[in-house]
Amino acid sequence: MRAVPLIGAVLVIGAAAGFWLTGARGLGAEAQAAIAAAPGDAEAGRLVFHAAGCASCHTAEGAEWSETPVLSGGQTFATEFGTFRAPNVSMHPEAGIGGWTLAQFADAVQAGVSPEGTHYYPAFPYGAYRLATPQDVADLWAFWQGLPASEAESLPHDLRFPFSIRRGVGVWKLAALPESWFSETPGGDPAAARGQYLAEALAHCGECHSPRDALGGIDRGAWLEGAPNPSGSGNIPGITRDQLGWSADEIANYLNDGFTPEFDSAGGHMARVVLNLSRLPAEDREAIAAYLMQVE
């Protein structure tokens, strides 16, 4: 009979541990210190902003591409988990994130944690952004300061149970948040290494171009091998070297003018990706191409 209180105690401790493990915790003190110490440069942040594709999701439906977009939110993303709605992340102090500190911004972008201490859903690709350098995060926030404010109200997601329970994201984070690169780091070629950084940390190519496992984490064993379209019908193509079958020049050109080697054009969400990447220096597009040529 003594076993019962013991089991009870184990259960309570287990539940407490689980509760703690799935809690929303921001970046560690060391990471925050590095970001705080980095001098934010808005012009450098402009390139980080475009490479990371922030505007692709956070502008209003149908908004024209802009160098300084209104990040009012409002786009909807219908998925198997329910419908996600991109929030207002403009510089408005109440409706957007204009009142945030750099540390709060970094926690959101790299740990998926809100200033209120709750989880963000991983439709927001903080799993990729957490690989970004402290300097790039500081630069990005410096650029953000010059973006316009919008009063538009952020609308709640509309998710199916059990995905509607935010705490569940904590379980996802335990299983799926990367602590290192998604693919093997290219050796010997600095351009390919830069390309890996751009593709994996900022442009978050793997979010759509890689399949996911049962828990919704990216399947690293099938990195960039293509996947069902998470939002809508059809498939997102595989872009490993052999699947794509393009030369490095063809990839770099595609990321600039949006034309495939057959002069078909980029479509779907990729059209927005091209629009963003076309703003980067040519060397950065060539770096992404060099990286993709090494992904098998």
Partner: protein, 151 residues
């Protein structure tokens, strides 16, 4: 009222048969031909802009004129209702074209404006052509972004 489920069943069976036979409506084939001719003309202009082939003012003009000609075809005739991905196989035209017809026409108009610019730039040297091709690519992408199914 009992007829309704029966009618629905008949429609389902009917459309399944149509899909199984792989009937592609003539309008779908026609617009795909249009896209192919556009793509062919752009491959010449884009090849020059990318530096893959030598710039040739006369050839560039010819390609631009072909692109101009085929881009003027009637949108109404090539995009009839009932030819979206939900109704026929062998198309990537999303239902959004018809639920947002005005938006679709806006994108088509923007594409035609970009074609105008390409046509004007084509005989005037590579440096004039390159930015015009960039804008053209963006106008293709803008429409495909909202209205074409991903592969």
């Amino acid at each position: 009222m009992k007829l309704l489920p029966l009618a629905a069943a008949a429609i389902v069976v009917g459309s399944t048969v149509a899909l199984a036979q792989g009937d592609v409506p003539a309008a779908v084939k026609a617009r795909q031909g249009q896209m192919q001719i556009q793509s062919h003309a752009i491959s010449i202009l884009g090849g020059m802009a990318r530096g893959n082939m030598e710039y040739d003012a006369e050839l560039a003009s010819q390609a631009a004129q072909d692109l101009r000609a085929v881009s003027m075809l009637s949108v109404d005739l090539l995009w009839p209702e009932g030819t979206s991905t939900e109704e026929v196989q062998g198309t990537r035209a999303l239902p959004a074209i018809w639920s947002d017809w005005e938006g679709f026409l806006d994108d088509w108009e923007a594409f035609n404006a970009a074609v105008d610019a390409v046509e004007a730039a084509a005989p005037n040297g590579l440096e004039a052509l390159q930015p015009a091709i960039g804008t053209l690519g963006q106008s293709c992408g803008a429409c495909h972004d909202d209205f074409r199914q991903s592969n």
